[in-house]
Symmetry: C2
Subunit: 318 residues, 2 copies
């Protein structure tokens, strides 16, 4: 895909064909107890059951499989708070090429182990955007590997949009889809896919009030950087990118903000009532649906459960 | 069913017809990562997704639905460490009759809340078998309600056997089924169902070494009482009953014992790799499969994930 070209529904469908052999078709689950709490019919697209435990394998696989052979052999490189790193490492291993991963030192242990387990070659850096980008640039220089940005990349955006394609294949008459928003890869891919398939559908991005850079960016009409990371939803601490921001600005209905306590309660609800493991970021859309007046009473609502890489060690006696 | 009559496969099939409208048909999941760890193909019957989060709704519903109308109106009574209590409360509410529940004071909060949430009328007692039985007897005296024992009851045993029926409907060529064993309701129901449907199948009960009363009972040929409760697998702290013991003694291949650390690691594996929430008791069979030489390498093994009522509060900031 030429750089600067915005992916459209055709690009997402092509991505879907490309990645299908390498990813899981994840199930769509419902939960009567949650429907009753929300007052709507909710369809959860379970990307927590996806390979590497997150939707990120979709974009990473599309990016890796889109590289020409000679370019691919030199490998791929990225910086990520975790799930994209694991995803790129696995996608690269599946193609038999190296993956160089820059990770912040303070990433959750479960995510570091996952990256190493998938064969990623890790370089640690300080947990700031400039430190990540500098380390990446150095690796590109040294290896000739291709940078695959966690979200600000056309092939990644197209890949992330395939989750919404599958969701709408199974539940064709959704009134709305809610996704979490961090860097905006999932949200922008979902917007293009969902609006392309079903123009009347409402798509709402959901983010922690403590990481409200997407809401601010929309309000101010420019990319407002994220504040220092404090939200429990560690996957959503990044700022929007130059490729995701215009798509979101054009197509999204709104960005719903939720408080930390609301995220915790939504997480608890999913663990206790659905009996599935999700990470805090994945609980943000349900937190919005439970606590914000989104005009979705009685509607059919899709939620993308973005990932399941919860650090469960606190649950377990040592 | 006349008292003293041992349920057979026909009784379990009749129970299945009786309870089908009131329970979930739970999915059977597989996990490549776990297959690789075990060296066998494992099929998990997900009773953690069952109503009340445990297989116990099967036996409780069969018992409640087997009562004659006049007898039913006086209600049901039981003592339980939790899941049977919630199950009986829900089964009774579904039939519109009262459920009187005797629970040990030290039951996990999540289980107490569940019982109350399903409309059970709770009486607390000391966490000993005699205290439970005395409180139950008082309630029967006062209300005329029918005692539905958590496991030592023909209708309950027949109901619990329906999980294995469904598992064998979906995976007809299983070489073995593993279940946890506490009071033995699930194991004895599974034995009758599985051996009835597929006589060559191997059925193995799995229990914590710290609650090895079933293994001891088989060895000594008499019911050996459980030691004071210490295992993390709180659902498995009970002793075998006079109705479950003879069935298990006749039909079970062996009782595999597992250490506490093995249970914790199996629990962690299920949470992290399958991304489903189970309670410690449900992890005991996988712990056995991972750590004991059961002769199941390369075989097709069914595991009943007995319940999902894990207390997740430790995971969550307050």
């Amino acid at each position: 895909m030429p750089s600067g070209f915005r992916p459209d529904l055709a690009a997402i469908r092509a991505a879907h064909e490309r990645i299908r052999p390498f990813i899981h078709r994840t199930p769509v689950l419902t939960c009567t107890a949650i429907d009753d709490m929300v007052g709507a019919r909710v369809f959860f697209k379970c990307e927590n059951f996806q390979k590497v435990g997150a939707f990120k394998i979709r974009g990473a696989t599309n990016a890796v499989r889109s590289l020409a052979e000679e370019q691919a052999t030199r490998g791929v490189v990225t910086h990520s708070s975790g799930n994209h790193a694991a995803a790129l490492a696995l996608a690269a291993r599946q193609r038999g090429i190296p993956a160089y991963i820059v990770m912040p030192r303070n990433s959750p242990a479960v995510k570091k182990e996952a990256v190493a387990g998938y064969g990623g070659r890790i370089t640690y850096c300080e947990p700031t955007q400039p430190a990540r980008e500098a380390a990446c640039a150095e690796l590109v220089q040294a290896t000739g590997a291709t940078l695959v940005h966690p979200f600000d990349d056309e092939a990644v955006i197209a890949g992330q949009g395939t989750a919404a394609v599958e969701l709408l294949e199974e539940v064709t008459d959704l009134d709305a889809i809610l996704t979490p928003v961090g860097g905006g890869g999932l949200l922008s891919g979902t917007l293009i896919a969902a609006k392309g398939i079903r123009p009347t559908i409402r798509v709402i991005g959901c983010e922690p009030a403590l990481a409200d850079d997407a809401a601010k960016s929309l309000r101010e009409g420019r990319i407002v950087p994220a504040r220092p990371p404090v939200t429990i939803a560690d996957g959503l601490r990044t700022s929007l990118g130059h490729k995701t921001f215009p798509i979101i600005r054009e197509l999204v209905e709104t960005i719903a903000l939720v408080e930390e306590a609301e995220i915790v309660l939504a997480l608890r609800t999913i663990l206790e009532r659905m009996k599935v493991v999700v990470e805090p970021s994945a609980a943000v859309p349900l937190a919005a649906l439970l606590n914000r007046p989104l005009g979705l009473a009685g509607k059919r609502v899709g939620i993308i459960l973005s990932g399941g890489n919860l650090d469960v060690s606190k649950l377990l006696p040592s």
